[in-house]
Symmetry: C2
Subunit: 330 residues, 2 copies
């Protein structure tokens, strides 16, 4: 079984965009009805087809990351938007229970909306069987909030520990013209969060908390020596000590990058992922390989069979216990 832990429902029916547009106009209309057939169509020729053509089996599906737009300050809008978005990925996972497992968007706002976040985590994980959540380390979109190590986040971590679900640390749209959302903001967030964690003792306080850092960890594996050197200079534990709690996905879109990731980070801490249909579409004209076909790069990498199995499947089942409940080992 090959599990892609990072897919987004970027192909949702138009009714979802219309709901959002109405919300932002201040209207309180509900989501227009979407039939099961329409939902099936929205993934059958997209995420599902591409995954299966490439040889994958299961995808963790969450709402479109750039569409979460946590910078909108109204908690009621955030709650309704997360609920509607999550309802769709949940329905997709019910329509294709062998292929999709849902991951939740949280109704974060720049001021936090912690009560709403906690309620949506309980609703999605406890009631609907979601296997993980996406936690935005920068709900403002301008980095106006506090680092993930600040006590403001602790109530969320307590609940994640209680429910034993990991959080993928994933920002949404950047609200600063210096940062291209897909080409800078996403990667900067990954890098910044790793450094926040390196400076802190967060995992002493929350020993069962687990974070997945997407996009191959931003700049971190490429600069692994810099982090080791900084940790030594400041007297912090070595960055490898974070690896009981921090995992990287494989959303790195060329062979050399995947090779570096596999070289630097232990295979116990790498989770196969494609981010599709996500930031990049199309194929490298030089090789014919689709940019986000990270399974092709993993196949092209030197990797012992046991490590390959860990990256493609076992790590996901270990880091996401509720995924393992859905897909019990034979």
């Amino acid at each position: 079984m090959i599990i892609d832990i990072h897919g987004h429902f970027t192909t949702a029916p138009k009714a979802l965009d219309e709901f959002r547009a109405a919300q932002l106009r201040g209207e309180r209309s509900g989501l227009a009805p979407i039939s099961d057939d329409e939902l099936r169509e929205s993934v059958a020729n997209n995420q599902l087809r591409v995954m299966q053509e490439r040889g994958g089996d299961v995808m963790l599906l969450s709402p479109k990351a750039s569409g979460m737009e946590h910078h909108v300050p109204d908690p009621e809008i955030a709650n309704a938007w997360a609920a509607v978005s999550n309802s769709l990925v949940h329905r997709v996972s019910e329509l294709y229970p062998k292929n999709f497992a849902p991951v939740a968007q949280l109704p974060q706002t720049p001021a936090g909306n912690v009560a709403g976040v906690l309620a949506e985590i309980r609703r999605t994980v406890e009631d609907l069987g979601f296997v993980g959540v996406n936690l935005n380390p920068d709900p403002s979109g301008t980095w106006a909030g506090q680092p993930l190590t600040d006590p403001a986040w602790f109530d969320i971590y307590e609940l994640l520990e209680e429910l034993d679900v990991p959080a993928m640390v994933h920002v949404s749209t950047a609200c600063n013209p210096n940062f291209h959302t897909l080409g800078a903001h996403y990667l900067n967030a990954d890098t910044s969060v790793f450094m926040q964690l390196l400076q802190s003792d967060l995992f002493e306080r929350f020993p069962r908390l687990r974070f997945v850092i997407p996009h191959g960890g931003g700049a971190v594996p490429y600069h692994w020596g810099r982090y080791r050197g900084l940790a030594m200079r400041y007297g912090w534990p070595d960055p490898s000590d974070l690896l009981s709690h921090v995992y990287f996905d494989t959303c790195v879109y060329h062979q050399a990058g995947i090779d570096l990731l596999l070289d630097v980070v232990p295979s116990t801490n790498i989770l196969f992922a494609s981010e599709m249909l996500g930031a990049v579409r199309g194929a490298d004209p030089d090789t014919g390989v689709e940019w986000d076909d990270t399974l092709a790069y993993l196949r092209g990498a030197w990797l012992p069979a046991r490590d390959r199995e860990a990256v493609l499947c076992e790590n996901a089942l270990r880091v996401y216990p509720r995924l393992a409940d859905r897909f019990p080992r034979p």
Copy 2:
């Protein structure tokens, strides 16, 4: 000849810190006298010794990057601080003309202080023989300003073209608790600026402008496929088209990172650099190699002799013509 294009005068005599502290207290005292012997001592057992022990010959020396503190808004303070800081790296380069070439700190402020910046570029490059400048893409320290592609920067680019000097794109201290200065802000800036350039036609307007992106280009080489894919998706030129104008240094502190950089970026666009004495100090306990001994990683990398010569020397002389004037080829 081996040229390190990225060194900082992080070991300046205490009088410099005292000058700065007095400035920030609102006092207008001058820099206390620093003797030539004191200046020699400040580098003889530091940058100079380390460079020579490792086999290097020449270092481009600029004032301490985190100390530039362009977030302080008063242009007069910025002008005086840049002038005093630059005077010291200039004196070091006069004391050791075979080993150091000066690179200027610019008196940027969050509002720009373009007149002051232009004056300091002319003074340092035209009058004092500086070979390059450090341009901060985020003088506010909070990314409150405009991208480097905004017309607000164009007067500076015109002068850089006129004088034929490159700019290293280098931020200073982060003023946001989400971003550790050395472990996140520096790398994020490198990544963000590359993406700003990828989205723009800046080099059509300024065909002789050249930027050096430090710290191995932040996350860029590790995510080279992502940038190629994004460029294709949005119909922009391939990122390799930027390489007539954009160069990366080798401040990546482990072998795997340097190997990736050399694998992904053409050797014509990589400039040897150590950033020492900079972000990281000390040696990897596993290998005994000092973290910032990037010459050791370059020696450990597979690299044809001609490419090695390019990275270690020839590229620097080409990108920094005023350096070539100081060190004419035999």
